[in-house]
């Protein structure tokens, strides 16, 4: 009887595991079937061009660059903030009602739908006082800030991923065996130094996982990019963007990411080039696969170092 139950349990777990694998494979095969034929060197190295004729719509260079910009910036904003929060909550916070409220606030933030962040970010950053993040609208009465730029989108993204990254870092810190800490304290090491020299390195794998989780969420989000980065397909800052004097202005202007490109080109948007949407989807998945590979490699590296 018990054996039978065990068998059913094992079977159910096996089925779920294999099914997940299959669903994922099915999605990837579907994307490959639909999108592989648009993939070529020109698709990757041309900027998108506006046209209702799919043959004339160009490639995905600008969205690719935009994805790199936005994930990098978003993580740069989010990581120090999340790290500080996680360290405080894991190591300093006591179990007072006040701290509980703080925790609750952060937990609740994790559940806020991205569309709400998007509306919030857009409304906040159009304030003229925050014009540094985007640019002022020129030649208009009662001008406001444009409220849409890489900086705005990255900051809004940072707010969105903050609780996830912070939570996963906090968990990683808590997972560090208490013996490490005890040992350090026993040797008379100060608390901050213990955190810096012992706990954070030991939690490195978890922190990297948190960062990758954040990168994944930023790279995969559509709503915030659509509203806070604007729906423009190409980089609208001064060209050429790679010259240092144009860097800041590029980030203060708008662009696109792979997700907004996919959204815009798919039937959900008005771009009318569904095959290119699938092609871009495929590219995005390859990027995510590469990211995962990097994390696996890093994870193995940290483990090796510890052993």
């Amino acid at each position: 009887m018990a054996k039978k139950r065990h068998f059913a349990g094992y079977a159910a777990c096996w089925v779920s595991g294999v099914l997940t694998l299959l669903v994922c494979l099915a999605i990837i095969i579907f994307l490959v079937l639909k999108g592989a034929h648009v993939l070529n060197w020109r698709f990757l190295t041309e900027d998108p061009r506006p046209s209702l004729n799919e043959a004339l719509t160009g490639g995905i260079l600008a969205p690719l660059i935009g994805t790199v910009f936005l994930t990098t910036l978003g993580i740069c904003f989010a990581l120090p903030w999340a790290l500080a929060t996680a360290i405080y909550l894991a190591e300093y916070a006591e179990d007072t009602p006040w701290v509980k409220t703080l925790r609750t606030g952060i937990d609740v933030l994790a559940g806020v739908p991205t569309i709400v962040f998007a509306i919030f970010g857009l409304a906040i950053f159009t304030h003229p006082g925050l014009a540094f993040f985007s640019t002022m609208v020129e030649g208009v009465e009662n001008a406001r800030a444009f409220g849409r730029s890489f900086l705005v989108a990255a900051f809004t993204m940072a707010m969105m991923v903050l609780p996830f990254v912070a939570k996963s870092i906090e968990e990683a810190i808590r997972a560090v065996p208490v013996t490490y800490k005890e040992a350090a304290f026993a040797l008379g090491i100060s608390k901050w130094r213990t955190i810096r020299m012992v706990i954070l390195p030991a939690a490195a794998a978890g922190i990297i996982t948190g960062v990758v989780l954040g990168i994944g969420r930023i790279a995969g989000d559509t709503a915030i990019v659509w509203l806070c980065l604007g729906g423009s397909m190409t980089l609208t800052g001064p060209q050429p963007w790679w010259e240092p004097q144009n860097w800041l202005a590029t980030l203060q202007n708008t662009g696109s990411t792979l997700t907004t490109y996919i959204f815009y080109s798919s039937p959900a948007g008005e771009g009318n080039s569904p095959n290119k949407a699938f092609g871009a989807g495929l590219v995005l998945i390859v990027i995510i696969l590469a990211l995962n590979a990097v994390v696996d490699y890093l994870g193995r590296f940290t483990r090796l170092k510890e052993e």
Binding site: G139, E141, A145
Partner: protein, 397 residues
């Protein structure tokens, strides 16, 4: 002598009758004609009149829409309109008019119909510095007061231009912006989406220089905005390619969308339910559709409300019983556009006015456009800009 007189009288009477008949035929109220002034439909208590190829509209409505003041002298039966330092004087029944003291001869005189004074639209508008587009039977006269497209473009320009709004206008706006940037490399143009409503609101709030709208402006839109109609776009009703129905009338479409017809049998199709696909209320396409196809009646509650042209086309392509409406640019072989009132919905027919379900694309500014925004709009309405519009949409010139 007497008989001769009589016969002359008779002939004269016959001639008068004949001519009046002719004249009557010519001045039949053209219910189909709508007038867009600065992107907003002119609300008229008396329908515009089509006479000898000229459109006549109630004087107060047109003068006020253009931003002119108007005076009516009942004794001399004279209309005087003023805008800035331009003064236009028209007399009822007289083809001689005066513009700032200069004598002008009109093709058609101002007249009184149903106690309303009607004035020639093109003469009045152009005298007061507005641009008028009227291509025959297309049923829509476009009047732009702020930008005419005839202005000189400066040799060099610089600065930044921000636009947001309708996703339908966006591809066209991007194309125009690219051409403009080629002309003026120092100019940066940012165009984002959001929808017609967002564009209008952003423009009114000073968040952008230009807001894009794929619909006529309404009374409920913020005050103080000025639209410039830059293009027109046809809207077509589509069904699944396997659907045997090859022709529909406007009445049938209306009955389907208001829920009076729910089975394809009623319009010559199979015994199958009609799956009605519509757009969400704020979409410019939906706005146009309810006005022109449904005469402002409500769409049946069971209709699917899609957020984009692409989704409507996808829904129709995926279901043999579906019906939907999309912008003509999105028409492809995954769906079929039945004849509408006997007319093939094609770009050709839309351009020559045979197919008249067309809507305006407006670029909205807060007040009259100035600076870079003005230069951009002048470019869009210039021959070069309109040639770009003509590639996939209907130009206004």
């Amino acid at each position: 002598m007497r008989t001769r007189q009589r016969s002359v009288l008779l002939v004269a009477a016959a001639l008068v009758l004949l001519f009046s008949q002719f004249a009557f035929a010519q001045e039949a109220p053209a219910q189909d004609i709508s007038v867009l002034v600065n992107g907003q439909r002119l609300s008229l208590d008396t329908p515009p009149l089509l006479e000898q190829g000229r459109v006549l509209v109630p004087m107060r409505a047109i003068f006020e829409a253009i931003g002119a003041t108007v005076d009516w002298d009942g004794q001399t039966r004279t209309v005087t309109g003023r805008k800035g330092d331009v003064e236009v004087i028209l007399k009822i029944g007289d083809v001689n008019a005066r513009v700032s003291g200069r004598n002008v001869t009109l093709d058609v005189a101002a007249k009184v119909v149903n106690d309303r004074t009607l004035v020639p639209l093109r003469f009045v508008s152009e005298s007061l510095g507005a641009a008028v587009d009227w291509n025959g039977a297309a049923g829509q006269v476009v009047v732009n007061t702020a930008v005419t497209g005839g202005g000189e473009l400066p040799a060099t320009l610089s600065g930044t231009l921000k636009m947001s709004g309708s996703t339908s206008v966006q591809p066209l706006a991007e194309e125009l912006a690219q051409a403009f940037r080629q002309k003026y490399p120092q100019v940066q143009i940012t165009i984002t989406g959001g929808g017609s409503g967002v564009g209008i609101k952003d423009a009114a709030a000073g968040k952008v220089n230009i807001g894009n709208a794929s619909r006529a402006l309404k009374d409920s839109d913020p005050k103080g905005i000025v639209g410039t109609t830059i293009a027109k776009d046809a809207v077509v009703v589509v069904v699944h390619p396997n659907n045997p129905v090859n022709a529909l009338t406007k009445q049938q479409v209306k009955d389907i969308y208001t829920g009076k017809i729910t089975n394809w049998q009623a319009v010559g199709g199979p015994d199958a339910p009609i799956i009605v696909n519509s757009r969400t209320a704020p979409s410019g396409t939906f706005d146009f559709f309810t006005e022109e196809f449904l005469d402002n009646e409500k769409v049946v509650a069971t209709a699917k409300q899609h957020a984009s042209n692409g989704l409507v086309r996808q829904a129709v392509a995926a279901n043999e019983n579906a019906i939907g409406f999309i912008s003509m640019g999105y028409l492809d072989n995954t769906v079929k556009a039945p004849l509408m009132d006997g007319v093939t919905p094609s770009m050709e027919n839309a351009k020559n006015g045979t197919y008249h379900f067309v809507r305006p694309f407006n670029m909205v500014t807060n007040g009259e456009p100035t600076g870079l925004a003005r230069a951009f709009l002048e470019f869009v309405l210039s021959a070069e800009g309109q040639a770009i519009v003509g590639k996939e949409y209907i130009p206004v010139k």
